[in-house]
């Protein structure tokens, strides 16, 4: 469904991605783990078209998208929940959601979508007239995910959904991600520092080191991998 081959991305002269090869199949949950500065967020931004790849190809459903504008890519069905949530803090919860459906905000179809998001995250429904900035971190994350779902994506790119969120809410969010995948049939590409959680959830996973994929395999298998345990799991996140 989404195939990334040999992608290289630069910030000025600094190379952030050094030839990434990776693919995501229809209906899967794929996780990408790696330490700070490995290039995880850069890869998501490159898929979204916010950063442009200097070399390599990104193919989505048979079409090359590496040179498309970000809004075209969203129209094609790839939507990102950016790192740090990036809620529009002065707009209300519902306005935030409506913005997610910017491309197709018309008619009943849209009202249905917004209801589905409220069903998925009931707390948002209680707070729909509240300003985004007044929500807690976890609620903001739910809002960010809900907002992305409003664009009816085929693939949802999630950048560190557990960042700065209370452990209890992290579990809830990961359950929701699973639900989105199973019930709404949305393919998930998850980028996480919380390696344990990400690997448990994933059908398949990749490890990114210094802008290159070093290990790949099924999530459960990587959980048992000695190198990964040493580098990302032991002494690290226990929740």
């Amino acid at each position: 469904m989404l195939k990334i081959s040999n992608v290289e991305t630069f910030y000025g002269k600094i190379q952030a991605l050094r030839g990434v090869d990776l693919d995501v199949n229809d209906g899967e949950i794929v996780s990408l783990i790696g330490s700070n500065g490995a290039g995880k967020s850069t890869l998501l931004m490159t898929i979204s078209g916010v950063n442009k790849a200097k070399r390599g190809n990104i193919v989505f459903n048979g079409k090359n998208i590496e040179n498309q504008a970000p809004h075209k890519i969203v129209d094609m069905g790839i939507c990102q929940v950016p790192e740090g949530r990036r809620i529009f803090s002065r707009l209300t919860v519902e306005e935030n959601l409506r913005l997610g459906a910017h491309a197709n905000e018309k008619g009943k179809y849209f009202e249905n979508d917004i209801k589905e998001v409220y069903d998925l995250f009931p707390v948002l429904s209680d707070r729909k007239t509240q300003r985004g900035g007044t929500l807690s971190g976890g609620e903001q994350q739910m809002l960010a995910i809900g907002r992305a779902l409003m664009s009816k994506p085929k693939v949802l790119l999630l950048d560190e959904p557990s960042l700065g969120i209370a452990p209890k809410l992290v579990n809830q969010i990961f359950v929701s991600i699973k639900n989105i995948n199973k019930e709404k049939n949305v393919t998930i590409f998850l980028v996480e520092q919380n390696a344990k959680k990400a690997l448990e959830l994933a059908d398949r996973a990749y490890v990114l080191v210094n802008g290159k994929v070093t290990i790949k395999g099924p999530g459960q298998e990587l959980l048992k991998n000695k190198d990964i345990q040493a580098a990302y799991l032991e002494g690290g996140s226990k929740n």
Partner: protein, 422 residues
Amino acid sequence: MEKKDIIQSFKDSLFTGLIALALFGPIVGLRTASKGEGLFITPQWGVVFLLVGLCILGRFLINLNSSRKTEITFFSKFTSKFSAITEDKAKHFAITAILFAVVFPFLPFTDRYFMDVAIMILTYIMLGWGLNIVVGLAGLLDLGYVAFYAVGAYSYALIATTFGWSFWICLPLAGLFAAFFGILLGFPVLRLRGDYLAIVTLGFGEIIRIILINWYEVTNGPDGITGIPRPSFFGLPFKRSPDEGETSFHLFFNLEYSTMHRIIFLYYLILVLALITNYFTLKIRKLPVGRAWEALREDEIACKSLGVNPTNTKLTAFAIGAMFGGFAGSFFATRQAFISPESFTFIESAIIVAIVVLGGMGSQTGVVLASIFLIGITEMFRDLEQYRMIAFGGAMVLIMVFKPKGILANRKPTILMHGDKK
């Protein structure tokens, strides 16, 4: 109040005095006067000491005000109460204000001078509302807004004097021209943000003015354009003795001829234009494009990741803001019957930006209050001639001291739950 605080604020005031002395000393204190041959410096230290003393006193009062909530907080209490009232009862306030504006020309104390000031304030309100789309909603700081005002005025003047078309045809054309210039400015500045955007827009404003001065064949350069047709009341001109085959306004309605007719008509014209601007802004905020503007102001990357096209969003903001600037410009041209590049200097842009910022970014009512406050005060002190700019500056300082986020700082959500509507 504790002694320590007083000493502290006293020291602070003295320091302020020192800065004031450094500023006023050379600017006010050393006055050049030409006597016989050449220039001589006449010192006027009395005035300097007066000004420095005022600064020290003012600073001291502000310090007292902020360090302890005592009786001196009266002013800020008053203003916050005032903004609380207007926030809550925004709708009532708006309706009252509009009703007042409608009956204003027929109030007993209203004379020619009041009408002129009112027309001027309304023009600035309209410009403020137009710029509010760009600055308040889309968050793009435009320091060259006067350029669109100028484009509107000149296109109106040129079309009207060349083709002799009526006001109602020229007005939309002028608006379209201004919108086109908005897009023209929009393209090069798409990639810029914040300070850099402000600098380029500032330059754009100057470029337009310099073109107007130098493109003599078309704009008549610094001499300006004269004899711009006045607007007519649906085909009825405001003339004492109409041309042959024409009926003028006072004859048609069987009234005594008075120059006030035209002024009252102009007043209602700008009132309607301004209200259209406001209505349009309030409506478009609830549409996807308006919401996208606000989202763009909040976070451009989030916008991109959600499929908002920042290019189109910014261009529409520039174009629509410019269009209203152009409408206001046409009104200005038809009211004055004479325009020259003199009217479109940077200070105009600065005043409009000041109105938007001091009103509270994005607040429609705030723009009205700030216009009345800033333009009204400068007009009230017109007798003081050049000193009236001090009143303007003073008004700005007062707002910044007591309402640092603008007169009305809160943004109202566009979507309310049922039952939330008051």
